[in-house]
Symmetry: C2
Subunit: 399 residues, 2 copies
């Protein structure tokens, strides 16, 4: 039995592999990007699933269209895109089995092996994995303390003519940085000038605790070369696996054909649940609630970090999203910290290297998630991690 070239050198996602550790309830987990369980609309979902199947079971249990469940595509246009200032028709919209599938369909539809694709560095490790499987040449533009710099972005696009630029402009994973408006404008301009696709991945923008929402790159898109991925995993439920995608009709049409050969269509019941949630206008109040929870968790983690981390750990203070990004002094190996943290302190997080294309650049960084643990465990976990960092520092100095 043969293993294909594209899969030979692809290893599993570091986060997915972490899942096995995370199954242990003794471990305080700042890994993953799991929403807090109290943020799931559980009773509503239970009752709505029952009434949806009882009333529309003949449709929902049957095969559905590959483009997606029509009422959800309409609700996405009216309740999500329109309020963001994005005009779209049904031809622009496909629903996917999570945004990961949207990205996979884009890779299948756009990338030839050997093509250049441009990503922020660091970036979402799942994206690196998908582009590796697509056998793309991944090139990078660095994230500075204020995100990607427009001049560096333009230089890379000019020099390499990548087929696409993948970005998470708001509360980026893993850095939680927000791309400034002027850089968003530049990205849209470059898409037009170089006939390059901009993939705007937007799972986190609704999770804003403070500050002003910024317009999406898609709102500056004059060439129809920006494709927007909207996930409902962080706002409603990741277990339902529902996302929507808005792009130019030619690309969306090809993605539909690729999706026929990926999973035929996304499950109907799951799409209908998200549609009901949108149509019943539950999102605004729900976001108020979950942003209250996450803002409070984030504050608890930042407070504990200020109290327990050595001051030589560089830490961002996010305005939203799910992550706090930490950088250790040069020479530190966050992977070694991770292994000792799990075994000695029963605290998990994600080391930085998997978020980097040039792994060595990420060796001294790590990502903390604050949405999956109650505040008491957040404080305790950060205290233990701070202890470990001091211990390791003392050991290094003793050598």
């Amino acid at each position: 039995m043969q293993i294909s070239e594209r899969m030979k050198n692809v290893s599993g996602s570091a986060i997915r592999e972490l899942f096995k550790v995370l199954g242990d309830p003794e471990i305080i987990s700042f890994g993953g990007g799991n929403p807090a369980k109290e943020c799931f609309p559980k009773q509503w979902a239970a009752d709505t699933a029952q009434s949806l199947i009882a009333e529309k079971g003949d449709v929902l249990l049957q095969y559905g269209p590959t483009e997606g469940y029509l009422p959800l595509r309409k609700a996405y246009i009216d309740k999500v895109l329109a309020p963001l200032g994005i005009e779209a028709t049904l031809d622009n919209v496909i629903t996917t089995t999570g945004s990961m599938q949207g990205l996979d369909l884009i890779a299948k539809t756009v990338i030839n092996p050997g093509d250049y694709v441009l990503v922020e560095e660091p970036t979402f490790l799942g994206t690196i994995q998908i582009f590796n499987i697509a056998q793309a040449n991944i090139i990078t533009v660095p994230m500075h303390e204020d995100g990607v710099h427009a001049d560096e972005l333009e230089e890379m696009v000019k020099k390499y003519r990548p087929v696409l630029f993948y970005t998470i402009p708001t509360f980026q994973n893993p850095t939680s940085l927000v791309m400034p408006v002027e850089v968003r404008r530049v990205a849209a301009r470059l898409a037009a000038e170089y006939d390059m696709l901009v993939v705007e991945d937007d799972p986190y923008a609704s999770l804003r605790f403070t500050g002003e929402a910024l317009p999406l790159i898609k709102t500056f898109d004059t060439s129809d070369n920006t494709i927007l991925l909207t996930s409902f995993s962080k706002t409603i439920s990741p277990g339902l696996r529902v996302a929507c995608c808005c792009g130019n009709p030619e690309l969306v049409r090809k993605m539909v054909v690729a999706k026929q050969g990926s999973d035929t269509h996304s499950p109907n019941l799951n799409q209908a649940l998200v549609e009901r949630f949108l149509i019943e206008d539950r999102m605004p109040a729900h976001l108020d609630y979950i942003n209250g929870v996450y803002s409070s968790s984030c504050n608890a983690m930042m407070k504990a970090i200020r109290e327990y981390f050595p001051d030589w750990v560089k830490v961002n203070d996010p305005e939203g999203g799910l992550f706090i990004w930490c950088t250790l002094p040069a020479g530190w190996d966050a992977d070694a910290v991770f292994h000792r943290s799990v075994s000695e302190k029963l605290v998990a997080f994600v080391p930085g290297a998997p978020f980097y294309v040039q792994k060595e650049l990420g060796a001294n960084s790590f990502r903390l998630n604050f949405s999956a643990e109650p505040e008491a465990r957040i404080t305790e976990g950060i205290r233990r991690l701070g202890d470990l960092l001091r211990e390791m520092d003392a050991e290094m100095k003793a050598i």
Copy 2:
């Protein structure tokens, strides 16, 4: 914006494109492979979805493991594989978002562009699409009136050394033919001798109206080179998009990695519904019920065919499955019949060519599905189609 080479020449599935026609309730549809809506366990699914979310919402609405929902993987081993005489452990099993995804993951994991892959001809058109997107060289072994011949199969394997042989051994789509036991043994032997993967796609075997069930190829597998795709789309519900797959641990492990980059994991609620259905031992009685319905629909269609079709239409009489395969005399164009049938008679079916790799071989054949329409409409549809065939025959003779 670029479209990739692999997608440039791939057109949409003929059946998926048909869906647009099928939306019209005036059309009597023998296209698609939709289960009858009265065969969905609707009330059970509604009540069980509610109680599952209410009781286990914290787990089901959260991210789940890429390998699949653990209780379903266990139930598949105990309630599906064991009764078939297949011993398996968790390392052998992954759940997928429908068997289409299982096939896509196998293609990603095994096929390099240019590799030979062997399929029955005709075969499931979705498989041809997936292998085209994988840029494989598709070679074929013909389906005779008694299915694939062992000597022709061996000759093709010997000559081309394909990386895999894809087969639907029981109630094949589109022919409804059943692969004899001795050919199944040969397929397993060839898998071992040539280190070739056998992909045994099994969505229909449970839908048997008459005759004896045959052992799966997987039961003859001595080299662990057979991978079994088990779908719950035809037996429980296609809209849930749940399938399971049993293969060798190395391949399954790589498929898990590929699935991380496809849709992260299949939705949990949907997997939990299927697990409950299996664990509550609902399948045997449910299959008795739906096979009664389908057997009766199939008989109604065969009776109408004998009454209304000209005797020069060659028709199989299936022992199970969802399809009746028809062959017109040489020179007929089933595609032309299809277009007139839809516009003049309001009757839809699937022309044969899309099921063929060498499209010209399928020009005079077509597939009828009997599971999606009530018996009165089946009889009426076949009467109209018979009328059209006679009309077209008379027109041809008049030229």
